[in-house]
């Protein structure tokens, strides 16, 4: 076995030191009836690197990949171009095969990256502070709701209809067990986000209002207006950003009055990966520092007075507080945070703006072209790089028929909101700097054919 350095002579010598006759003798504490005499039945034996690679390559070939065909999916996961240096650097063994930096003297590489990451995230989201990342956007969103409950000591959260349905479902799962009440609503196929409905739902019991920016249908809510309304009833505004590239052009949620801003960082550095691993972004006002879930890295000095970084404020965490922890989250999403941070360092503020402009421009071009397809109309008044069109029939079947024509043409609202009245004809379409004029033309032509 190529990954196991011991040979039989080593094993025999080591058993001699231990004073055991065989490796099996080391398992005496396992009840005899539970100890298997040989390999687990019903499974294949070891395989060569070649054989495994061949098997996996065959499976891989069964997928139609984003890079092969015109591609217009979004809904919380975006295909942006990731510079080659990002993937090279995250495969440095010193990053890839390191553990959580509990021994800061020999983990300054990871720690400095986390400090830089926290600063980048805080500046991007417009918050005072940020953590070292959480699992993904959906879990970060729930953690923000839970944190707002701790701060306001209220148990009712108002969720905008524009919040990604998977985020809503994740929050519902958790709320069922924590006793929080979630006020939710389905989105409507309207040109504007549901700001007024959200504001109308606020009350004296509201802990927080959760608003996605841009929302799941690509519309851009008026965060400042909602922030003012939330503040008036003593509730917090949680803004959720699933497409961080949008913040290259849009004002940051923190600057517009959000108290907590969470997001999905996948769009920068990480790639699609069929949904994971991704990384949750989490920032907030400094006054809520001690309520933040997850890992935090802070600056300090070493015994010689040299600058260094450590994980800090760990008394919030489960390994110390046990049943009183702020969250049960143990790991962050370290390597994804590294990829995000490297990509953002390569871009800088100006590069991010360029990337955002390009994405927006391609989306505008896509919308204009699709609007020319008979029976198709664009719903949104404004959007960043994602918008909804209505089709004359169920968008789910249209998407499948487009795939048969080698076009990945967006996400049907029927898939996101199964059974919801009035949404079945909706198709969510996203574009990025990767989208070419040819892609747009091929998509439009295929859609015309499918709808004909």
């Amino acid at each position: 076995m190529r990954y196991l350095p011991l040979n039989d002579a080593d094993r025999a010598g080591m058993l001699g030191t231990i004073g055991a006759a065989s490796v099996d003798d080391l398992f005496v504490d396992v009840p005899a009836e539970a100890r298997l005499a040989g390999p687990v039945p019903g499974l294949p034996m070891h395989a060569s690197e070649m054989a495994v690679e061949r098997h996996m390559a065959r499976l891989s070939a069964e997928s139609l990949t984003a890079g092969q065909v015109p591609f217009f999916l979004g809904a919380g996961a975006y295909r942006h171009h990731v510079p080659a240096s990002v993937d090279h650097l995250i495969q440095r063994g010193e990053f890839l095969t390191a553990y959580t930096p509990y021994q800061p003297e020999i983990a300054q590489g990871t720690l400095q990256v986390l400090f830089e990451f926290q600063t980048q995230v805080a500046r991007l989201l417009g918050t005072d502070v940020a953590n070292a990342s959480l699992y993904d956007g959906s879990t970060a969103c729930w953690e923000a709701v839970a944190m707002a409950g701790r701060i306001t000591k209220r148990k009712t959260a108002v969720l905008s209809g524009g919040l990604h349905p998977h985020y809503v479902e994740t929050a519902k799962t958790m709320a069922k067990f924590t006793g929080d009440t979630l006020v939710t609503r389905l989105p409507e196929l309207s040109a504007e986000a549901d700001d007024d409905a959200v504001i109308a739902a606020l009350g004296a019991e509201t802990s927080c209002v959760v608003v996605q920016y841009p929302d799941v249908l690509g519309r851009i809510p008026d965060l400042a207006k909602i922030a003012a309304a939330a503040q008036a009833v003593g509730a917090l505004l949680i803004a959720v950003v699933t497409e961080p590239v949008a913040l290259g052009l849009l004002e940051s949620p923190g600057a517009l009055g959000a108290d907590i801003v969470v997001g999905e960082g996948q769009a920068l550095g990480v790639g699609l990966q069929f949904g994971g691993p991704y990384l949750g972004l989490f920032g907030c006002r400094e006054k809520y520092l001690r309520q933040i879930p997850g890992r935090l890295c802070g600056e300090t000095v070493d015994a010689d007075g040299r600058r260094g970084f450590v994980l800090t404020l760990s008394t919030r965490e489960q390994h110390i507080r046990r049943e009183k922890a702020t969250s049960n989250i143990c790991t962050n999403s370290g390597l994804c945070a590294l990829a995000f941070s490297i990509h953002l360092t390569l871009l800088g503020g100006k590069g991010l703006e360029q990337m955002a402009r390009a994405s927006h421009a391609r989306a505008v071009a896509t919308a204009k072209r699709l609007a020319q397809v008979p029976g198709v109309s664009v719903v949104n008044r404004a959007y960043f790089n994602e918008f909804v069109v209505t089709l004359p029939r169920d968008a789910r079947t249209v998407v499948r028929e487009l795939a048969d024509r080698q076009v990945l043409g967006g996400v049907s609202l029927g898939r996101l909101y199964p059974g919801a009245d009035g949404l079945g004809g909706g198709l969510l379409v996203a574009a990025t700097e990767c989208t070419t004029a040819e892609d747009i033309e091929t998509f439009a032509a295929a859609l015309e054919e499918v709808l004909a």
Partner: protein
């Protein structure tokens, strides 16, 4: 003014029907460098033995229990900026909160200074 002690290493100094509460010098020496103190809100009512405050060191967070029942009147705001006061002067400037007592009879269950000294000597 009489001062009483608990087995959880809190002290309470009583003046009429109000009192000041903190952790003992022995407790701070066991906890090490205090980095943060979570104070109770004024107006909070606490029962004897309830966790009313949390004292953080780098590696631990310790609950501080109310020695008697009553209502918190103020937390020691100085600790927000200088939690190290709990290390340097645990039984003076490092006090945690002030409270009114709802049942001064509960004091009878606590130790006086000599009894507490003997208790610590046994640890």
């Amino acid at each position: 003014m009489p001062r009483y002690f608990t087995k959880d290493h809190e002290w309470i100094e009583v003046e009429g029907d109000t009192a000041t509460v903190g952790i003992t010098d022995y407790a701070q020496s066991q906890l090490g460098d205090i980095t943060f103190v979570e104070l109770p809100d004024a107006g909070a009512s606490v029962g004897k033995g309830d966790s009313a405050s949390v004292v953080d060191s780098v590696k631990a967070a310790s609950d501080v229990y109310a020695p008697v029942s009553g209502t918190v009147t103020e937390g020691n705001g100085a600790l927000e900026e200088e939690p190290e006061l709990v290390n340097s002067d645990a039984e003076g400037a490092g006090w945690l909160w002030r409270m009114t007592l709802s049942d001064s009879g509960e004091l009878a269950d606590l130790m006086d200074e000599n009894a507490y000294k003997a208790f610590v000597a046994e640890l």
